[in-house]
Symmetry: C2
Subunit: 326 residues, 2 copies
DNA sequence: CTAGGTGCAAATAATTTGCAGAGGC
DNA sequence: GCCTCTGCAAATTATTTGCACCTAG
């Protein structure tokens, strides 16, 4: 939850309003806090520094922050609102402990997808969704402190992004290795071998980056998952790799690869774009680019293959012509 | 949302409190309404009949209803609570229109499962979860009335239960038909054929019931989905049926069948148990029983097969012995 | 000088509570 | 008669607003 480096407030949408020491003071105190503050919590905090500040100003500043996109108003059903900063904080869901009233954040690409589906089925245009799981947290159940406190979300997010990227890379490596093995055409085999080599190299890079991340926070690995995504379990290429059996020819293998790379590229791009500037975002976007390159390579190769076959055989069937189009 | 037949209030947890005309009046008006009422809405409604009723009494009665389990307090982030009756109403999620402030209900077994997973991963004991999708509803976007109003949830729920049951039955029929085709042993083939016949018969029953349901509400089929469940799309046996290829022997086929029936039985039982008495609940529970019988039959057959093989061959391998245990 | 920021106190809005009277058992 | 329900008015809680004053640009 903590913000590793405070945002530059001067750069942060100063539109509409003149500089005011009070407002800046409130914003600074707010951003320095972690967790979900109620207006009252914030008033108390501010009054430690300066007890000549009015409740109304705090409310007004909170509203200003929400409008400026610095803060988000969240409702935990307590009969009052709480505020969380949105700077570097992606939209997320909450686990809310009814005993200690603390709340924990998580993100689930899977739940998001289902929510999207439900909305579509009902012809509903969703603008925002709330997922709140009420219950009892581990601490309140067992009485003991959980091993991992509120780690820096930034790092945890980067960790989860890297884990997904690594799983995808591993399944990609498996995929291209298999593809190279069953390839019939020398040229096709070369492509798959090259891609396998590239995946291997990239995998090493990602793993190094992961190790480097762990060094920055020794407990990082034991912190709970923040970003849930089922596709990560076996990697996004796992299904494709499974389909690569002896009977598959080069063209089919290319098509399966294209489908996997496309899915992967889309996932990483979509997620990368959603976040504020952060290490995790960077991981997502870099990976998306990587996948994009592979995708382009495969598509080029596929087209070349089809063209060669067109010269040899009669002509390519309409269906594969369609499939080769982006 | 409408209650087809009003519950018998006298039977409804009258514990703790004497009969009071005012309370009964309020409860009756509340239960007659559909949708999500705010305390104020209810006060207005009550005052149409009797304007000598105090706001405080309405609040007290609402609280009483929540305690008695007749009503649920829901928070749509408006800064005040709304109330919905829980009689015959399973816990559900909401789509909330920010324009017209209406809300629509849905249930998603899939989202529930993911929520459960997240909670488990975080060692969190969930007691309740809130899923709210905010946005714009179809009416507010297009301006025209949606074809289907607020249908009786009871009927829609029964419809969805039947749809899932039918899809499962269809995939079950497909599964047993295939299994009978590839069975090597005459006895195994007989079992699969019998089950296929049974599925066919049961399928006809379910379809008749579905048709009967449609007659009760001619628009029923066009009402939006209430219960979302991915497994329904192809039926719970679809995956199993796919695995039934030539290479599969009778023992393996039985195992796959057992796995499918078990999954199916569990799903229907779990869902059936969650709801208040209703047609949908009945559909779920009856189906669960049916699957349970099939499951038992398959398990018996599997054991018999293993025993026979044990006499013929050396001895059964440990792994299959384990698999045959419930 | 002037628009916007700030404090204070009063206003709202939803909901709860204290208390005295009313009514069922 | 007792115990609970009920109405009324006052209290509480979270938040907003009116208004006069203040301050940076």
């Amino acid at each position: 939850m903590a913000i590793s480096s405070l945002p530059d407030l001067r750069a942060l949408k100063p539109e509409g309003g003149k500089r005011s020491s009070k407002r800046e003071q409130i914003v600074n105190v707010f951003l320095r806090q972690e967790g979900h503050l109620s207006a009252d919590d914030l008033v108390d905090l501010i009054r430690r520094d300066d007890h000549r500040i009015s409740r109304a100003t705090v409310y007004r500043t909170l509203q200003w922050m929400v409008d400026a996109g610095i803060a988000r108003k969240v409702d935990f059903g307590e009969g009052r609102f709480r505020f969380e900063h949105s700077y570097r904080q992606p939209r997320h869901f909450h686990l809310i402990c009814k005993t200690c009233h603390r709340s924990y954040e998580f993100l689930s690409s899977d739940i998001e997808a289902l929510v999207e589906e439900v909305a579509t089925a009902r012809n509903f245009s969703p603008s925002q969704s709330v997922v709140q799981i009420y219950g009892t947290c581990e601490e309140c159940k067992t009485g003991k402190q959980p091993a991992t406190g509120d780690g820096h979300t930034d790092l945890v997010f980067a960790r989860d992004a890297l884990r997904i990227a690594i799983a995808t890379e591993r399944s990609g490596l498996e995929f291209y290795t298999r593809a190279a093995k069953i390839a019939r055409d020398a040229r096709g085999r070369k492509i798959f071998q090259d891609l396998a080599a590239e995946e291997k190299e990239h995998l090493a890079t990602l793993e190094a980056r992961y190790a480097e991340l762990l060094q920055r926070d020794p407990q990082l690995e034991s912190r709970p998952t923040f970003l849930f995504f089922k596709g990560a379990a076996n990697g996004l290429f796992a299904e494709g790799a499974e389909r690569l059996t002896k009977g598959v020819n080069d063209q089919q293998a290319l098509l399966i690869g294209i489908r996997c790379e496309r899915g992967s590229h889309r996932f990483f791009k979509k997620y990368g774009e959603r976040f504020e500037d952060s290490e995790g975002k960077q991981v997502f976007l870099e990976f998306a680019d990587e996948e994009r390159e592979h995708l382009d390579l495969l598509v080029r190769e596929y087209r070349a293959l089809v063209a060669r076959q067109g010269r040899t055989k009669r002509k390519r069937p309409a269906s594969t012509a369609r499939a080769s189009a982006r």
